[in-house]
Symmetry: C2
Protein backbone atom coordinates (compact mmCIF):
# COMPACT_ATOMS: atom_id res chain seq x y z
CA UNK A 1 0.00 0.00 0.00
CA UNK A 2 1.23 3.45 -0.85
CA UNK A 3 1.78 5.38 2.31
CA UNK A 4 3.54 8.55 3.37
CA UNK A 5 5.43 8.40 6.64
CA UNK A 6 3.27 10.53 8.88
CA UNK A 7 6.02 11.20 11.40
CA UNK A 8 7.48 13.78 9.04
CA UNK A 9 4.29 15.79 9.50
CA UNK A 10 4.22 18.25 12.40
CA UNK A 11 0.54 17.53 13.16
CA UNK A 12 0.21 15.65 16.47
CA UNK A 13 -2.67 13.60 15.06
CA UNK A 14 -0.53 12.41 12.15
CA UNK A 15 2.33 11.59 14.48
CA UNK A 16 0.07 9.66 16.81
CA UNK A 17 -1.19 7.59 13.91
CA UNK A 18 2.36 6.93 12.78
CA UNK A 19 3.40 5.90 16.27
CA UNK A 20 0.60 3.47 16.91
CA UNK A 21 1.04 1.99 13.47
CA UNK A 22 -1.96 -0.08 12.49
CA UNK A 23 -5.52 -0.85 13.51
CA UNK A 24 -4.28 -4.09 15.06
CA UNK A 25 -2.11 -2.07 17.40
CA UNK A 26 -5.15 -0.32 18.82
CA UNK A 27 -6.92 -3.62 19.43
CA UNK A 28 -3.78 -5.01 21.07
CA UNK A 29 -3.74 -1.96 23.34
CA UNK A 30 -7.44 -2.49 24.09
CA UNK A 31 -6.69 -6.07 25.15
CA UNK A 32 -3.72 -4.88 27.21
CA UNK A 33 -6.06 -2.48 29.04
CA UNK A 34 -8.39 -5.45 29.57
CA UNK A 35 -5.52 -7.18 31.34
CA UNK A 36 -3.97 -9.49 28.73
CA UNK A 37 -0.18 -9.69 28.77
CA UNK A 38 0.88 -12.86 26.91
CA UNK A 39 1.36 -13.62 23.24
CA UNK A 40 -1.07 -16.55 23.31
CA UNK A 41 -3.73 -14.47 25.03
CA UNK A 42 -3.54 -11.73 22.40
CA UNK A 43 -3.49 -14.30 19.59
CA UNK A 44 -6.58 -16.05 20.92
CA UNK A 45 -8.47 -12.84 21.62
CA UNK A 46 -7.78 -11.22 18.27
CA UNK A 47 -7.64 -14.15 15.85
CA UNK A 48 -4.58 -12.47 14.39
CA UNK A 49 -1.87 -14.33 12.44
CA UNK A 50 1.18 -14.99 14.66
CA UNK A 51 3.65 -13.20 12.36
CA UNK A 52 1.41 -10.12 12.30
CA UNK A 53 1.00 -10.21 16.08
CA UNK A 54 4.78 -10.50 16.52
CA UNK A 55 5.29 -7.48 14.28
CA UNK A 56 2.65 -5.35 16.01
CA UNK A 57 3.90 -6.19 19.51
CA UNK A 58 7.43 -5.32 18.41
CA UNK A 59 6.19 -2.02 17.00
CA UNK A 60 4.32 -1.14 20.19
CA UNK A 61 7.44 -1.93 22.26
CA UNK A 62 9.67 0.16 19.97
CA UNK A 63 7.20 3.02 20.23
CA UNK A 64 7.34 2.73 24.00
CA UNK A 65 3.68 1.86 24.59
CA UNK A 66 4.37 -1.69 25.74
CA UNK A 67 7.36 -3.15 27.56
CA UNK A 68 8.57 -6.71 26.98
CA UNK A 69 9.42 -8.45 30.24
CA UNK A 70 10.81 -11.86 31.08
CA UNK A 71 8.40 -13.58 33.45
CA UNK A 72 9.88 -17.09 33.31
CA UNK A 73 13.50 -18.11 32.83
CA UNK A 74 13.35 -21.79 31.81
CA UNK A 75 12.17 -21.84 29.15
CA UNK A 76 12.34 -18.07 28.63
CA UNK A 77 8.88 -16.56 28.41
CA UNK A 78 7.99 -12.92 27.91
CA UNK A 79 4.96 -10.83 28.66
CA UNK A 80 3.92 -7.44 27.34
CA UNK A 81 3.10 -4.79 29.91
CA UNK A 82 1.70 -1.30 29.37
CA UNK A 83 4.02 1.64 29.98
CA UNK A 84 2.83 5.06 31.20
CA UNK A 85 2.85 6.23 27.59
CA UNK A 86 0.71 3.26 26.61
CA UNK A 87 -1.75 3.81 29.43
CA UNK A 88 -1.98 7.46 28.46
CA UNK A 89 -3.47 6.37 25.11
CA UNK A 90 -6.66 5.16 26.82
CA UNK A 91 -8.64 8.37 26.10
CA UNK A 92 -8.44 7.56 22.38
CA UNK A 93 -9.99 4.17 23.09
CA UNK A 94 -12.75 5.68 25.24
CA UNK A 95 -13.77 8.04 22.48
CA UNK A 96 -13.63 5.31 19.81
CA UNK A 97 -15.71 3.18 22.15
CA UNK A 98 -18.35 5.87 22.55
CA UNK A 99 -18.56 6.62 18.84
CA UNK A 100 -18.86 2.95 17.96
CA UNK A 101 -21.62 2.36 20.48
CA UNK A 102 -23.50 5.43 19.25
CA UNK A 103 -23.25 4.84 15.54
CA UNK A 104 -22.37 1.22 14.90
CA UNK A 105 -24.41 -0.92 17.27
CA UNK A 106 -27.84 -1.15 15.59
CA UNK A 107 -28.58 -4.37 17.45
CA UNK A 108 -27.88 -2.73 20.82
CA UNK A 109 -24.68 -2.33 22.81
CA UNK A 110 -22.52 -5.43 23.24
CA UNK A 111 -20.03 -3.76 25.53
CA UNK A 112 -20.68 -0.94 27.95
CA UNK A 113 -18.39 1.34 29.94
CA UNK A 114 -19.52 1.69 33.53
CA UNK A 115 -18.59 3.53 36.70
CA UNK A 116 -16.68 1.09 38.95
CA UNK A 117 -18.36 2.45 42.06
CA UNK A 118 -21.99 2.91 41.02
CA UNK A 119 -22.17 0.48 38.09
CA UNK A 120 -23.96 3.17 36.07
CA UNK A 121 -23.23 3.40 32.36
CA UNK A 122 -20.66 6.03 31.51
CA UNK A 123 -20.93 8.39 28.57
CA UNK A 124 -17.47 9.66 27.57
CA UNK A 125 -17.29 13.38 26.87
CA UNK A 126 -14.17 15.46 26.20
CA UNK A 127 -13.74 18.65 28.23
CA UNK A 128 -10.93 21.11 28.85
CA UNK A 129 -9.14 19.80 31.95
CA UNK A 130 -8.61 23.33 33.26
CA UNK A 131 -12.10 24.80 32.88
CA UNK A 132 -14.35 21.74 32.54
CA UNK A 133 -15.77 23.28 29.37
CA UNK A 134 -16.98 20.67 26.84
CA UNK A 135 -14.83 20.81 23.70
CA UNK A 136 -17.98 20.25 21.61
CA UNK A 137 -18.71 23.95 22.19
CA UNK A 138 -15.81 24.78 19.89
CA UNK A 139 -12.06 24.35 19.68
CA UNK A 140 -9.75 26.73 17.88
CA UNK A 141 -6.57 25.35 16.29
CA UNK A 142 -3.55 27.65 16.20
CA UNK A 143 0.12 27.32 15.30
CA UNK A 144 2.23 26.48 18.34
CA UNK A 145 5.71 27.64 19.36
CA UNK A 146 7.43 24.97 17.21
CA UNK A 147 5.34 25.59 14.08
CA UNK A 148 7.11 25.98 10.75
CA UNK A 149 6.34 29.10 8.65
CA UNK A 150 4.32 26.92 6.26
CA UNK A 151 2.20 25.65 9.10
CA UNK A 152 1.67 29.17 10.43
CA UNK A 153 0.27 30.23 7.06
CA UNK A 154 -2.07 27.26 7.11
CA UNK A 155 -4.14 28.20 10.10
CA UNK A 156 -6.58 31.04 9.69
CA UNK A 157 -8.00 32.78 12.74
CA UNK A 158 -11.14 30.66 12.53
CA UNK A 159 -9.63 27.22 11.94
CA UNK A 160 -11.38 24.84 14.31
CA UNK A 161 -11.58 21.15 14.97
CA UNK B 1 -1.72 -7.33 4.15
CA UNK B 2 -3.55 -10.00 6.10
CA UNK B 3 -6.49 -8.47 7.82
CA UNK B 4 -9.64 -9.67 9.54
CA UNK B 5 -12.77 -7.67 8.91
CA UNK B 6 -13.30 -5.95 12.23
CA UNK B 7 -17.00 -5.29 11.64
CA UNK B 8 -17.72 -8.91 12.49
CA UNK B 9 -16.43 -8.17 15.99
CA UNK B 10 -18.98 -6.90 18.51
CA UNK B 11 -16.48 -4.54 20.13
CA UNK B 12 -17.36 -0.91 19.37
CA UNK B 13 -13.68 0.00 19.10
CA UNK B 14 -13.13 -2.67 16.43
CA UNK B 15 -16.20 -1.54 14.55
CA UNK B 16 -15.13 2.09 14.67
CA UNK B 17 -11.76 1.16 13.23
CA UNK B 18 -13.45 -0.85 10.48
CA UNK B 19 -15.79 2.03 9.66
CA UNK B 20 -13.14 4.69 9.41
CA UNK B 21 -10.94 2.38 7.41
CA UNK B 22 -7.40 3.70 7.26
CA UNK B 23 -5.09 6.25 8.81
CA UNK B 24 -5.61 8.45 5.76
CA UNK B 25 -9.29 8.62 6.55
CA UNK B 26 -8.58 10.16 9.94
CA UNK B 27 -6.34 12.81 8.38
CA UNK B 28 -9.02 13.54 5.76
CA UNK B 29 -11.51 13.99 8.59
CA UNK B 30 -9.05 16.29 10.37
CA UNK B 31 -8.81 18.43 7.24
CA UNK B 32 -12.59 18.40 6.87
CA UNK B 33 -12.85 19.74 10.45
CA UNK B 34 -10.31 22.39 9.47
CA UNK B 35 -12.72 23.49 6.74
CA UNK B 36 -11.47 21.76 3.57
CA UNK B 37 -14.17 20.41 1.26
CA UNK B 38 -12.66 19.89 -2.20
CA UNK B 39 -10.63 17.10 -3.72
CA UNK B 40 -7.77 19.39 -4.70
CA UNK B 41 -7.63 20.91 -1.22
CA UNK B 42 -7.33 17.49 0.42
CA UNK B 43 -4.78 16.35 -2.16
CA UNK B 44 -2.61 19.39 -1.59
CA UNK B 45 -2.88 19.28 2.19
CA UNK B 46 -2.11 15.60 2.52
CA UNK B 47 0.31 14.89 -0.33
CA UNK B 48 -1.75 11.77 -0.95
CA UNK B 49 -1.88 9.95 -4.30
CA UNK B 50 -5.09 10.85 -6.18
CA UNK B 51 -6.28 7.25 -6.52
CA UNK B 52 -5.84 6.71 -2.79
CA UNK B 53 -7.66 9.94 -1.98
CA UNK B 54 -10.53 8.95 -4.27
CA UNK B 55 -10.81 5.61 -2.52
CA UNK B 56 -10.68 7.09 0.97
CA UNK B 57 -13.25 9.80 0.20
CA UNK B 58 -15.54 7.16 -1.28
CA UNK B 59 -15.13 5.03 1.84
CA UNK B 60 -15.91 7.94 4.16
CA UNK B 61 -19.03 8.74 2.09
CA UNK B 62 -20.19 5.10 2.13
CA UNK B 63 -19.64 5.00 5.88
CA UNK B 64 -21.78 8.12 6.21
CA UNK B 65 -19.11 10.41 7.69
CA UNK B 66 -18.89 12.65 4.62
CA UNK B 67 -21.51 13.58 2.07
CA UNK B 68 -20.68 14.22 -1.61
CA UNK B 69 -22.47 17.28 -2.92
CA UNK B 70 -22.64 18.94 -6.32
CA UNK B 71 -21.56 22.58 -5.93
CA UNK B 72 -21.20 23.45 -9.62
CA UNK B 73 -23.17 22.09 -12.58
CA UNK B 74 -21.05 22.97 -15.66
CA UNK B 75 -18.66 21.34 -15.47
CA UNK B 76 -19.94 19.15 -12.61
CA UNK B 77 -17.88 19.65 -9.44
CA UNK B 78 -18.37 17.96 -6.12
CA UNK B 79 -17.42 18.83 -2.60
CA UNK B 80 -17.21 16.67 0.52
CA UNK B 81 -19.11 17.88 3.56
CA UNK B 82 -19.14 16.44 7.07
CA UNK B 83 -22.31 14.71 8.24
CA UNK B 84 -23.48 14.66 11.87
CA UNK B 85 -21.92 11.21 12.19
CA UNK B 86 -18.65 12.59 10.81
CA UNK B 87 -18.66 15.58 13.14
CA UNK B 88 -19.37 13.26 16.05
CA UNK B 89 -15.97 11.62 15.45
CA UNK B 90 -14.15 14.78 16.56
CA UNK B 91 -13.55 13.56 20.16
CA UNK B 92 -11.28 10.83 18.76
CA UNK B 93 -9.22 13.52 17.03
CA UNK B 94 -9.03 15.66 20.16
CA UNK B 95 -7.66 12.76 22.18
CA UNK B 96 -5.17 11.79 19.43
CA UNK B 97 -4.16 15.43 19.30
CA UNK B 98 -3.52 15.60 23.03
CA UNK B 99 -1.56 12.35 23.11
CA UNK B 100 0.58 13.38 20.16
CA UNK B 101 1.38 16.75 21.69
CA UNK B 102 2.24 15.14 25.02
CA UNK B 103 4.42 12.30 23.77
CA UNK B 104 5.55 13.05 20.23
CA UNK B 105 6.52 16.70 20.09
CA UNK B 106 10.04 16.80 21.57
CA UNK B 107 10.79 20.02 19.69
CA UNK B 108 7.73 21.72 21.20
CA UNK B 109 4.11 21.90 20.05
CA UNK B 110 3.51 22.79 16.39
CA UNK B 111 -0.24 22.92 16.73
CA UNK B 112 -2.23 23.90 19.78
CA UNK B 113 -5.90 23.58 20.67
CA UNK B 114 -7.26 26.77 22.20
CA UNK B 115 -10.47 28.13 23.69
CA UNK B 116 -12.17 30.30 21.03
CA UNK B 117 -13.23 32.85 23.62
CA UNK B 118 -10.20 33.20 25.86
CA UNK B 119 -7.46 32.00 23.50
CA UNK B 120 -6.07 29.88 26.33
CA UNK B 121 -4.57 26.50 25.47
CA UNK B 122 -6.99 23.63 26.00
CA UNK B 123 -6.05 20.32 27.56
CA UNK B 124 -8.47 17.61 26.43
CA UNK B 125 -9.68 15.31 29.21
CA UNK B 126 -12.37 12.63 29.02
CA UNK B 127 -15.07 12.69 31.70
CA UNK B 128 -18.43 10.99 32.18
CA UNK B 129 -20.96 13.36 30.64
CA UNK B 130 -23.48 12.66 33.42
CA UNK B 131 -21.30 13.06 36.51
CA UNK B 132 -18.29 15.02 35.26
CA UNK B 133 -16.05 12.33 36.78
CA UNK B 134 -12.72 11.93 34.91
CA UNK B 135 -12.56 8.50 33.28
CA UNK B 136 -8.88 8.29 34.26
CA UNK B 137 -10.11 7.40 37.76
CA UNK B 138 -11.22 4.04 36.39
CA UNK B 139 -13.66 2.61 33.87
CA UNK B 140 -15.26 -0.81 34.17
CA UNK B 141 -16.12 -2.71 31.00
CA UNK B 142 -19.16 -4.98 31.12
CA UNK B 143 -21.20 -6.99 28.63
CA UNK B 144 -24.13 -5.00 27.25
CA UNK B 145 -27.68 -6.06 26.41
CA UNK B 146 -26.68 -7.27 22.93
CA UNK B 147 -23.63 -9.25 24.08
CA UNK B 148 -23.18 -12.80 22.85
CA UNK B 149 -22.64 -15.58 25.44
CA UNK B 150 -18.98 -15.74 24.39
CA UNK B 151 -18.55 -12.06 25.05
CA UNK B 152 -20.29 -12.34 28.43
CA UNK B 153 -17.79 -14.98 29.48
CA UNK B 154 -14.96 -12.72 28.43
CA UNK B 155 -15.51 -9.91 30.88
CA UNK B 156 -14.59 -10.54 34.46
CA UNK B 157 -15.99 -8.31 37.19
CA UNK B 158 -12.76 -6.33 37.22
CA UNK B 159 -12.17 -5.85 33.50
CA UNK B 160 -11.32 -2.20 32.96
CA UNK B 161 -10.12 0.05 30.22
Amino acid sequence: MQRTSFDQMPCPVARSLEEVGEWWSILILRDAYYGLTRFDQFAQSLGIAPNMLTRRLKGLCEAGLLERRLYQERPPRHEYVLTDKGRDFRPVLWTLFAWGNRHLAPEGESVVLTDPETGDAIEPMVVDARTGRPLAKGVRVVAGPAATPGLRRRFEPKTAI
